[in-house]
Symmetry: D2
Subunit: 343 residues, 4 copies
């Protein structure tokens, strides 16, 4: 039985609000950024990647966001249009704001650093008055990336989008997706994250991100399941807490807990897995699958993408993911936990 029921009369499967960025991934690996000679350009940004991922899996996806009024903004819009991701809700920045850029340094398969361009960035210019109530009302899921909460007016665009979603019984996924840029204080981060976490149906984040949401130290002694309970009490149906290489735990409102491990594959880079994971997980939920199956697809998709040079371009079809899972069927990646187990 599905953990979450969607209103099947809503035509669009997923609408995302937040940032699309441009990724520049180095073609020369295993060196620091200042030694790189050439970069490949890809569409990036966590919600942007997830839009591409869920679309590749065959679902109807729309995006609410602001892109630059230049060739890079055009690149993003074209990329989306060519894949039938709906751009009717995308606006162009009015005051010379640029697309965010992410230059990646791949020092080794397990180690990477990023250099972000987020000064005067277009994606944070989406305004509450740019958000259509009707558009959200006609979507099964609204996915909010926490980066979009970092400053006004994007922050208010998210808050109003969630208000519309709640009013029209649209499910809300809050992907914490913390980026240190533009936040002013720990208190500010905690205020807005916990506001969103108190209004969502699914909340996904690393343990560090949950600590930021609670404004508690790393050594608080609070267990994962206690955090899950808190956000369940506030109305969430699924809480996923990630622990990097140690895997993640998914908690459900039916009081189930699952540990999710990674497949053993040869990494090319250490990023992009999260967006692939999220895309396939959303896909599984939309398909009405059992949570174990959705999680299996999620971790398989993550494995496939971290073995590739890009995030967005490397997104896979459902058939491809299914093939991967069959090839790796000897690996057990989902383990049922007792509620209070830790990893």
């Amino acid at each position: 039985m599905a953990v979450i029921d969607f209103d099947q009369r809503k035509k669009r499967d997923l609408v995302l609000i937040g940032r699309v960025a441009i990724d520049f991934n180095p073609n020369e690996l295993n060196r620091t950024l200042d030694k790189v000679e050439t970069f490949s350009m890809y569409l990036g940004g966590s919600p942007g990647n997830m839009a591409v991922g869920v679309n590749k899996l065959g679902k109807a996806v729309g995006f609410i966001g602001c892109v630059s009024d230049d060739q890079f903004g055009t690149f993003v819009l074209n990329y989306f249009k060519e894949r039938d991701i709906d751009v009717s809700q995308m606006v162009r920045a009015k005051n010379g704001e640029n697309m965010g850029l992410t230059f990646t340094e791949i020092s080794s398969p397990t180690d990477s650093q990023i250099l972000m361009y987020r000064n005067g960035v277009a994606d944070l210019q989406i305004r509450p008055q740019d958000v259509s109530e009707e558009y959200i009302a006609n979507s099964k899921i609204l996915l909010i990336s926490g980066t979009a909460l970092a400053t006004s007016p994007s922050r208010e665009a998210c808050l109003i989008a969630v208000r519309y979603a709640k009013k029209h019984h649209v499910k809300v996924i809050f992907d914490i997706d913390y980026r240190e840029y533009t936040w002013k204080s720990k208190e500010e981060i905690s205020i807005y994250y916990s506001l969103l976490g108190g209004m969502s149906d699914i909340v996904i984040g690393s343990r560090e991100e949950f600590d930021l949401m609670e404004n508690i130290p790393a050594d608080s002694g609070i267990a994962d399941h206690e955090l899950a309970e808190k956000y369940m009490d506030l109305g969430n149906r699924i809480v996923i807490i990630k622990h990097g290489k140690k895997g993640s735990i998914a908690y459900t409102a039916e009081q189930q807990a699952f540990k999710v491990d990674s497949y053993h594959i040869k990494l090319l880079k250490s990023f992009g897995g999260g967006d692939a994971y999220g895309s396939a997980f959303v896909y599984g939920l939309l398909e009405g699958w059992k949570i174990e199956d959705a999680l299996t697809y999620a971790t398989a998709h993550a494995a496939m993408v971290v073995a590739s040079h890009s995030c967005s371009n490397a997104m896979q079809t459902a058939e491809q993911i299914k093939g991967f899972i069959e090839t790796h069927k000897d690996e057990k990646v989902i383990t049922k936990l007792n509620w209070r187990d830790t990893i």
Copy 2:
């Protein structure tokens, strides 16, 4: 029976968060501001006035706010200290921000205009990290003025103050107190007002302010009682909607509604009544009175203050208000309404 029960173990009766300003009221009346020759200086700002009012009525009051690092900031701190209003939670602005100023033009007893200085204003510089959880936990009531939501970081200071209040069962009064300055869009106003209105126990505002909170036009056709019901559903126990000279309506969670009229007195000026009203109403609630009695004190206090040259300096003692009510006992100012009645 009291509409609201307070936790009597909490020692402080009221803590306010928001703005204190300096009022400059003209000594030459019935002329436009540019023809005025001399001004009298008073402490002002709605929450500042209410702090003074509730203190004058004998209650223990504290203030969370930011004042300028100059002689006017000193004026405010001294004014509070001389009256035993607790200033332990007040901070000085760090980057040259000034106290807000309000120059009033008293064109006639019923007509006045204000000229506000709100550029680079100190009161909006109160930060979430300046707000003490323990301090709020030890107060019976937290009163938030909507003006403090207009921009960061004051906005976040309010949001965290309410979070602490909810956690520690401190009653929250949301006084919408709309001022047009610094807000960026109608959507932004509505987002934050409705967030607060969904977390308070008592919400007070003019009908125009409720329309802003809902982002609905003046001719929406939505009745006052419908708005009251909405905010009751969100957890409020009292909703007060003001209609200027036509009086106000107070709705309670016991499904009672009261019309409150003004006493017939000789006006000196048309402002300051709201803060006097609020102060005496809070006093009545803290005394555990029936709502009718609290409302009678409120409207009597308002009448006394609008007959005076200042707001803060004109605040009255309980004894004085009682005397006024007795003198005017022939005037009926409270009328029980049916829930769906309009005025």
Copy 3:
């Protein structure tokens, strides 16, 4: 013989560019600002006062500046219009900027402190495109107050005004008039002051202001006459260096130096004298007087204004100043110095 020759075909005697402010002077003297109860409102700001002063002395004056789009801006425009000071070049601020305010604390006749409101101030919003070449071309003198150099776009408005003045042989008076607000560094101050000081015909300032212009310490050991020589070499005809209560020295291109002392009068306040001095000095120059006579009028006017409650309203007619000088003819206020003398 006159030190400076004016082009008599130019119809307007003086155009000033810079700030007009509103002064609030306390009616209760000899106390700190936070103890004051009432204030009198006057037009203020150094160039504003000088416009009023020169106009009162019967000269044709125009003002280039930006005032607030509210009642205080109207107060300034009305005040000027009533006196036939030309306001055709004055603009209203477009983004809610306010008139600068100066609250004065008169602690004693010789000691005063000011509290300035300069955040988001209208006067600094005058833009280069608001400055008319033709208007400047038709004026005998352009007076620039250094405060207007403190930030863009007012800084550029001054620079273009001087460019037009040089092009059309309009004499430039640079009144350094340092105010600490809005400047970012000592280097920045020195850069723009010395640019202006290198383009003017007359430069007037306190010794402290000359030190700022040179970016040298108070104990540099550089003598006044050396500073005068430097600015003479750059093209100035008159350099006036003030030393507070010790008087001032006026240097001329004819290699003359005069010490100027104050008249012995009963002070009411310690400010406003500089603007009165400047006004009468400009008047004397325009009249073609010998510099000694212009300086005598200047110091007499200063004495008369510091004995009054306001600056602008206290400006005197030529007849009144003449009367004052005759009454005080026993006091010797002008002393011829040797060039290298110090005071």
Copy 4:
């Protein structure tokens, strides 16, 4: 005989102040930017390129500038250090400012567009207090790029650098190098360009840039030689006005005028030639050559660089330029003009 005499006791040949940027040039040519797949990274920015160019020609070069506090800033510093360009006067940005980026679209060999990242850019953060008087005093030439005048504090850093240069008889080259970003009005551009143009010894720019400096329209009817005369009168010894594909004219204080044409080579791209031209021209001046010879080297160097993929990496040695000139000795690129001739 040399047009300009340098003080040979000064040890450093050239100090530049202004921007270094990072260029991303597309590896896929003849397509719009949004279709590009990979980019090559080079050091860029006009003064940055010229520093590299003059250094490659064997001269002692130092740079005053601000770079980002990240890997790209490190890339720039390393690039300079490896070539012995002195970085002792370079600072890191303190508030998260980024290196400027220039993405180039090479639509055809003669047509290119750029997409610049200049929001929150590090190079404009160089402050007047970062500029050492002694460092400038010990350089033969100070080269200022007009882009650095676009906003504070970089603008003031340039103004103080020129002040130091004039004081210590360091020759000043003003390369107008207009970029539309960050300027607020045409008047502002004209004010600062003409200030610099009035303090330099050599001014170089396109005719469009001279029109901006003068704030005159394209069809003003003012001839090139009139502009040259104006800037000669202000103290310049050489004025170079460029007319794109039609070549450029160099005017000298000896009343000579030379037309400079381009060599006929196969273009790869249409940018970068100016910096190569400037580098070789400065080299020729430093060598004490006749202006005709310096100009020949300049145009030869330009031809060599536009045939290459980068600007900075493509800079040539004196030997290589000499070789190019000999190979192309049949082409006449320098023509003596009459002073009033036009092209």
